[in-house]
């Protein structure tokens, strides 16, 4: 989704009010309970949070000019890959097999067979419409962040079509943007 993304796609950059900042913190805490102890370090209360609005109803949450989370159209907040590499256990993980890696790294969505084949792994409890981390067979770090289209049980049962939407992957536009002024 961030295949082409640069500072020209940004339409506005605003510091948010404290009430909005609290709401964002709360929704992130709900979505990622594993992050709670560190939430104060990542999103300190006193530091102004900047929300950047971009094309396609995309919002980026920046702290100190570093993008940390993003969301689309008031959907769930998803961490950037750089943040996920630092705290790998906050999200559920799906694993794809080796052959799918280069397609995912080009922005492709993740098809069910990639997850059900021998190299892939599924976490059974995951429901549809949730953010998940996508790992690769044989690699230690996350490859991409996706948004489930189907629950893990459906993926196993139906085994056809798009299983997970690829929202953010390594070396895409958002990854290349380590800081945003």
């Amino acid at each position: 989704m961030f295949k082409k993304f640069s500072s020209e796609d940004v339409s506005s950059q605003n510091q948010v009010k404290a009430s909005v900042q609290r709401k964002i913190r709360q929704s992130i805490a709900e979505e990622y309970p594993g992050l709670e102890p560190v939430l104060d370090d990542l999103l300190p209360k006193k530091v102004p949070l900047i929300v950047v609005k971009c094309q396609n109803h995309l919002n980026l949450v920046l702290v100190n000019s570093v993008p940390l989370f993003f969301n689309i159209r008031d959907g769930p907040y998803m961490p950037t890959l750089r943040l996920l590499h630092q705290y790998p256990n906050i999200m559920k993980k799906f694993q794809v097999d080796r052959g799918a890696i280069k397609f995912v790294l080009a922005g492709a969505n993740i098809m069910c067979p990639g997850l059900t084949s021998p190299g892939g792994a599924l976490d059974d409890e995951v429901e549809a419409e949730t953010p998940v981390a996508i790992m690769a067979e044989g690699k230690q770090h996350a490859l991409a962040i996706g948004f489930n289209k189907m629950s893990a049980k459906d993926i196993k049962a139906i085994n056809k079509g798009i299983g997970v939407d690829n929202m953010h992957y390594l070396n895409d536009g958002l990854w290349k943007m380590e800081r945003l002024e």
């Binding site: 560190v38 906050i90 890696i101 397609f103 690769a136 690699k139 230690q140 070396n171």
Partner: protein
Amino acid sequence: MAEKPQPVKVLYCSICSLPAEYCEFGPDFEKCKPWLINNAPELYPDLLKEASEKEAEKVSEQLQSIGVSSSADGAASSARPGNALSSKQEDVKRLPGGKIKKKEKQEVVIEKVVRNRRKCITIVKGLDLFGIKLSDASKKLGKKFATGASVVKGPTEKEQIDVQGDISYDIVEYITETWPAVPETAIFFIEDGKKVPAS
């Protein structure tokens, strides 16, 4: 949970900015290799072996060339293996689907097409491969030959210049004069096959 999860420090490749283990999927694995050998040898143990093998090859070739030939030849042939090893092979570019991108040959193709019984047009294809702006080129051609010239989109994405009338007699000279980047040998006429214009 009482414990605070500590941030994991990830080693990112300084060349492709990916985590070190993903360098093979990065834009240029060859460039990453020397960096990887220095910073993350445990991820790619084969790289270390490769590097030492190449070193051994180089040394043995140089020894051979010095030993076998006489001093005069020795200088020349020791230069050659050096060149052969250093000139890298062009990596075949692969698109994400796995298809191989064809290398485009730089040539200008001139074709004549009959429009009415008396009139014809000359089609010039391939000027953009030399970095020439087609809109400028078509204006110049039209002015020089005092006819109409336009840029037309061909059946594929490629564009071509259509010039009214038969201008094949002067076109070669004009192209090589105005755009020295185009050598005479790169211009071909279509006459049921390709013909090289040298005359």
